[in-house]
Symmetry: C2
DNA sequence: TATTGTTATACTCTATAACTATA
DNA sequence: TATAGTTATAGAGTATAACAATA
């Protein structure tokens, strides 16, 4: 009832590259699962939250661009946007040149929600970091840009 | 159209604890998103995959235990198990002492699927690790157990 | 005629409520 | 009577197909 081959195996083989990949995969998945649970006082689905963040990051996007960016079909994005608009988190304005298109922007309420969401997640993580030794924190400081690089390659 | 306040902000404040939390949160989320896309040749939902992995890790579980473990309601777990059983990935056997209960175990096919899933994800990650310098890999080797500790605290 | 977005409809996943079998 | 699991039914999210408006 208590077998856990992954963890022990990854700890044992950490010196090899394959072992490092295995250990990182497990740790990353586990930590991310914990992190995702933090800051959920808004009842937005993952797609809704990702859409809101995408619009904020790109300042203004069309529904078509958003569907492409979030890997959903245009009709699905129509519904996501409609829901976020009802909540007052996104706003629709006419497109400047093409009247077929619509320009989507974040409202101040949407920005506030994203800010609070990030604050809660980071507060949880910062609390965990406080329980580490200074050396461990230094290691994570060095590792952060490397993890960043891994995902953008 | 190209504003990205998170990344620049997190890079700038990496020396503070709050800055480290912010940078880690963004990097972890991004890397995990990339990682989750790898190895999806089976068409299992996240819940199905997590259920399969849970049964493998614990050797044998009842539907009730699985529902509790995966944070879904018992009727939902009934359907997840039924689907995985149809695919030949899980098997049901009578419980040893209580005839109301059912014992769920992984089949060889289920074990093979999990192994392949992990292999694909780790192959992607190992490829990325090869592009790093030896020093960067050493940093990640040191960071892996710390990340592991963060999630289990 | 091609493109952008929406409406109509169906399927999947999960939930709550009611039911069956066993303790 | 209480517990483990299933069946019945409903709600949320996303997909494909058909449609309206504009280029």
């Amino acid at each position: 009832m208590l077998t856990n081959p992954q963890k022990t195996a990854s700890a044992a083989n950490l010196r090899s590259d394959a072992g490092l990949a295995s250990a990182l995969r497990v740790s990353l998945a586990r930590l991310n699962r914990r992190l995702r649970k933090q800051g959920t006082g808004h009842s937005l689905t993952p797609t809704q939250l990702a859409t809101l963040a995408a619009v904020e990051r790109h300042t203004a996007m069309t529904p078509g661009e958003l569907a492409e960016h979030e890997k959903v079909q245009p009709p699905s994005m129509t519904r996501v946007i409609a829901n976020l608009e009802e909540r007052g988190l996104l706003a629709r304005t006419p497109h400047s040149t093409d009247r077929r298109q619509v320009s989507i922007t974040v409202t101040p309420a949407g920005i506030a929600l994203l800010k609070e969401e990030r604050r809660l997640k980071e507060a949880w993580l910062a609390q965990r970091l406080k329980d580490l030794t200074p050396e461990e924190r230094a290691t994570l400081r060095a590792a952060a840009p490397i993890l960043e690089k891994l995902s953008t390659t």
